[in-house]
Symmetry: C2
Subunit: 241 residues, 2 copies
Amino acid sequence: MKACRQALLLSSSNCHGYSFLEFAKQEISSFLKKNGVTQLIFVPYAQNDHDDYTKNVTTVITPWGFNVAGLHTYPDPVKAIKEAKAIFIGGGNTFLLLKKLYENNLVNLIRERVYTGNLVYIGSSAGTNVATKSIHTTNDMPIVYPPSFDAIGIVPFNINPHYIDNLEKDTHKGETRDQRINEFIEMPHANLVLGLREGCILHVDGESLVLKGVAGAVIFKKGESKVEYPVGTDVSFLLNN
Amino acid sequence: MKACRQALLLSSSNCHGYSFLEFAKQEISSFLKKNGVTQLIFVPYAQNDHDDYTKNVTTVITPWGFNVAGLHTYPDPVKAIKEAKAIFIGGGNTFLLLKKLYENNLVNLIRERVYTGNLVYIGSSAGTNVATKSIHTTNDMPIVYPPSFDAIGIVPFNINPHYIDNLEKDTHKGETRDQRINEFIEMPHANLVLGLREGCILHVDGESLVLKGVAGAVIFKKGESKVEYPVGTDVSFLLNN
């Protein structure tokens, strides 16, 4: 099956120096227009207050020229996704989000519809984590137990959103982000991790992957040193690893 | 069943200003001596290199007057734990640790032996997480999928080790530790979380819980503001919440 997938995977919705989603406005707008989308279903499952979360996103995106409706307002989520042309899965807690997607039988459905070119996908933070192979590289606290860590798999590798070096204070002895990612990389089921800095967007266009937005990304591979890539880099080679 | 449990739950093995485990030397030594223990089994499952990890711990603890052997050196871990008087479960990755404990059928066994007063328990970081009700409040990355987040349950609440306020840089938009813990507290299955600052030790002596070490702790409860408690506080009330 040749992949017709169309996806924008944002590291986060917030980025220092920008208002909520502002750094991604141009990318989201041109991506949706290019795909002929005017109507968007927002998936607020990563947070507890679905109404409030959907309202915050709608307030920002509607003025860009798109209609937004929360998935939680549809009586049948499966039917809603089957009829949708585009979804935006927002950030929050990745475990909460993935559990809810499984409970509503949406994981396989979203994967199938994205791969067959029938559903355009935008994800941010937790919404980006669930778009990858698995949620093994989320930064979130495991507040609920999902039936699996396997995720939608729009890309066949793992992403670490909100990627940052040297997060911790020097006197704090908790592990650094790089140590955590390298712990994962050592596992037999791990291959590579794309660390998206806040402000970075991975644009997935079929077999083409390009770094967009206002910040770059870092790639961690088994047995190799991490490598930094700036905005604009074609990282399609990640599909062949 | 009246709890005869004897446990020392360390926030971490490393603490700023001290060498490995040094801040806990007096507490560990007097705790083991009081319980008539001279032989200790070290459980290195939270890290990949069991030999190396056990060697590092042995090098520090042997001069204190205790014999240490790695659990991985015993052909039958269940038999080893059944015959052990004391264990020390070290830190690393909580998911890796809990999965390995389940694989080796040790979770229920350790719980039973601790509650009947036949096994003295020392845990640090991930080893403290697995000693609680569940691992929902670990800081670690979910690098493997354990069969459950339920843990040994020596205490009937959750602990966040390496607790710190305002970890992130001001310009970073990832969630703070307090936001993450409060996300958990909102869940129906959550009750309270004890955040152990690095250098803090929870001493469990039957029905008595006391904060020891060189730093205090913070308690998060549903619908309440967090409360700070200094070293020396009797927090036995946590058993009645």
